[in-house]
C-alpha cells in the first residue's frame, strides 16, 4: 500500500512540476495535477471495463467445460470453496506448451482462471491445486484490481513525461521570452524529474508486484494446507524452457511465474515482476510449523534473513493454528510425452474437434468445421460417418 501511495506521489509530483514549469505565476501547478489525475482515472476506467477481454483474446484462450477436463474443473471448484468465493471462476485454457497460469477479473464474482496446456501436461493433482490456489489468491486478495491500478498509473506517468519531453524539444526553437533565470532552473528541474519519474515508477511497480506474489504464495498455502504442492509446481515450471508467447511487461504480474524469463539471462532483482523462483520454493519448503500466514512470514524471514513484513499486519493478528496436510501421493503416472499429447487433445476438444476411434487403432481428430460428413481413415481406408 505504501509503495502504491509513493507511486501516486510520483504521478502528482510530475503533474505539479510540469504544470509549474509552464506557468509558475498562475495556477499551472494545480492544473498540472488535475490533468495528471484525470488521465489516470480515464485510463483506469478503460482498463477496468475491458481488461480481461483484451488479455484473453491476446493469448488465444478458450473456455473449458467440465467434461473436457474434470480434474481441472474440480480443483478450481475446491479452491473456490476453500476461499469462500460466492461464485466459481470461469476457466480458460491457452494452447501453448509453456507451463504457466494467470487470473483476471477485477472483482471475485467475475474472475477467470487461465492455465496453459503445458501446465496441465506437467502437473499432478497436488501441484495443479497449488497453482490454482495461487491464482485464486490473486483474485480474493484483489491483486488484479490493485495491479491494474498500479499498472495504469505507471502507464500514465510514462505517457505524461513522454509528452512533456517531446513538447520541450519541439518548442525549443521558440523563445518564451518572459522567463528569466528562475524559469530556466524550473524547466531543468522539470526535465530531470520527467526523465526520472518513469524509472522510479517502474521500480515501485515491480516492488509492488513482487510483494503481491509472496502474499499470493502465502494465501495459496493457507487455502491448500500443503506448501509442497506449490513448491514442486514452481520447481517444474522453472525447469521448463518453453517461452510463453503473447506475454508482455503489462500482463506479466498476473502470471504465476514470470513469463518473460529468457534462457541464460539473469533478471536483476529490482526489475523483475516476480521474486526469484528458487527463493519462493525455499520459503515454501521451510514452512514447518503450519500452513497459516504467520508461518509463511516466519519462513520468509528465516530464508531472507530480514524482518520485512510481507503479510499485512491485520491479517497476522488472526489467531490461527493450521496444520499441514499430507500429500495425496498421486504422482504424475505417465511420462511427459503422453501427458503433452493428452493436453493437446484437450485443446482440440475446446476447439470443437471430434474424436473418432478407427477399428485399425488409429485415433482420428476431425475439426469442427470439416465440411463433409464422410471421411476415410488415412491408415486403413475405412469409411467413417460423422453424426
Amino acid at each position: 500500500m505504501l509503495l502504491f501511495v509513493l507511486m501516486g506521489i510520483v504521478l502528482v509530483g510530475l503533474g505539479f512540476i510540469i504544470g509549474y514549469a509552464y506557468d509558475p505565476q498562475g495556477g499551472g501547478a494545480f492544473i498540472g495535477i488535475i490533468v495528471a489525475v484525470i488521465i489516470w482515472i480515464v485510463m483506469t476506467l478503460v482498463a477496468f471495463s475491458s481488461g480481461s477481454a483484451i488479455m484473453l483474446s491476446a493469448s488465444n484462450a478458450k473456455e473449458v467445460t467440465p467434461d473436457v477436463h474434470p480434474q481441472l474443473f474440480n480443483v478450481v471448484e475446491e479452491m473456490s470453496i476453500a476461499a469462500g468465493m460466492r461464485k466459481m471462476p470461469k476457466i480458460y485454457i491457452i494452447p501453448t506448451d509453456a507451463p504457466n497460469a494467470f487470473a483476471t477479473g477485477i472483482n471475485p464474482d467475475n474472475a477467470i482462471v487461465t492455465v496453459t496446456a503445458g501446465l496441465l501436461a506437467r502437473m499432478n493433482r497436488d501441484e495443479l491445486q497449488g497453482v490454482i490456489a495461487h491464482e485464486m489468491s490473486h483474485v480474493v486478495n484483489r491483486d488484479i484490481k490493485f495491479m491494474t491500478l498500479a499498472g495504469v498509473m505507471l502507464g500514465t506517468i510514462v505517457i505524461i513525461s513522454e509528452i512533456f519531453l517531446r513538447s520541450l524539444f519541439l518548442g525549443a526553437g521558440r523563445s518564451r521570452g518572459k522567463g528569466g533565470q528562475g524559469q530556466i532552473i524550473i524547466m531543468i528541474v522539470a526535465l530531470v524529474f520527467a526523465i526520472l519519474a518513469p524509472i522510479m515508477a517502474r521500480l515501485l511497480y515491480f516492488a509492488i508486484s513482487r510483494k503481491r506474489e509472496y502474499l499470493a504464495d502465502a494465501s495459496a498455502v493457507r487455502l491448500t494446507r500443503y506448501p509442497e504442492g506449490l513448491a514442486s509446481a514452481l520447481e517444474k515450471i522453472s525447469g521448463s524452457t518453453e517461452e510463453m508467447p503473447m506475454a508482455n511487461k503489462v500482463t506479466a504480474p498476473m502470471y504465476i511465474c514470470n513469463p518473460l524469463k529468457k534462457k541464460g539471462m539473469k533478471m536483476s532483482d529490482l526489475t523483475s515482476t516476480h521474486p526469484p523462483i528458487s527463493e519462493r520454493i525455499r520459503i515454501l519448503r521451510s514452512m514447518a510449523g503450519g500452513a497459516g500466514l504467520a508461518n509463511y512470514q516466519n519462513a520468509y524471514n528465516s530464508v531472507k534473513g530480514t524482518n520485512k513484513n510481507i503479510i499485512p499486519a491485520g491479517e497476522l493478528n488472526q489467531q490461527e493454528n493450521l496444520g499441514i496436510r499430507e500429500g495425496m501421493g498421486l504422482a504424475a503416472s505417465t511420462d511427459i510425452k503422453t501427458t503433452t499429447r493428452s493436453s493437446h487433445d484437450i485443446i482440440m476438444k475446446v476447439n470443437n474437434y471430434s474424436f473418432i476411434d478407427c477399428n485399425c487403432g488409429l485415433k482420428i481428430k476431425v475439426p469442427g468445421d470439416y465440411a463433409s460428413n464422410v471421411f476415410y481413415c488415412p491408415r486403413c481406408g475405412y469409411e467413417h460417418h460423422i453424426a
Partner: protein, 184 residues
Amino acid sequence: MTALWIILGIVGVLIFMVIGMYNSLIKLRNQVKNAWAQIDVQLKRRHDLIPNLIETVKGYMVHERQTLESITNARANAMSANNMTDRVKAEGELSNLMGRLNIAVEAYPDLKANQNFLALQEELTSTENKISYARQSYNDQVLFYNNKKQIFPSNIIAGMFNFKDEVFFEIQDQAEKEVPKVSF
C-alpha cells in the same frame, strides 16, 4: 447554536458507526451460515456418488462385500439422521469406510484400469476434498466472525443486539482430523 450542531454531528457519526458495525456483523454471520450450507451441499454430493461407486466396483471387489455393505448402510444412516450429533457421527463413519475402501482398491489392478472407475475416482477424490475445504472455509468464517464479535468496539454492538458466538466444526475422531487422503 454552534454547540448544538456539533453535538448533532457527533451523534450522527456515532449512529453511522453503529449501523456500519451492525451490518458487518450481520454480513459475517451470514457468511458463516453460507459456509455451513456449503458443507451440506458437498455431503449430499457424496451421498449421490456412492450408489454409482458401489455399482462400478461390485463386480471387481468380490472379497470386499462386507465393506461395500457397510458403506451402503452408513450412507443410509447419514441420510436418515435427524439430529446434528447423529449426523456428524454417521458422516464420520462414512468417511472412515471410504478411506478403507480406497486402500482395498490397491489389490485390484483390473479395477484401477477401468476408465469408468477412474472418472468416478476423480469425482470421489474431489468430493472428499470439497467436504474438507468447505469445513475449512466454515471454520475460517467462524474465526472472522468470532474475532469481530469479541474485538472492541464491535463487541459493544454485538452485546447490545445479542449476537452469539458460533462454534467451530471440530472432529472427534483423530483419524478424521486429517484431510481425507484419497489415493486409489
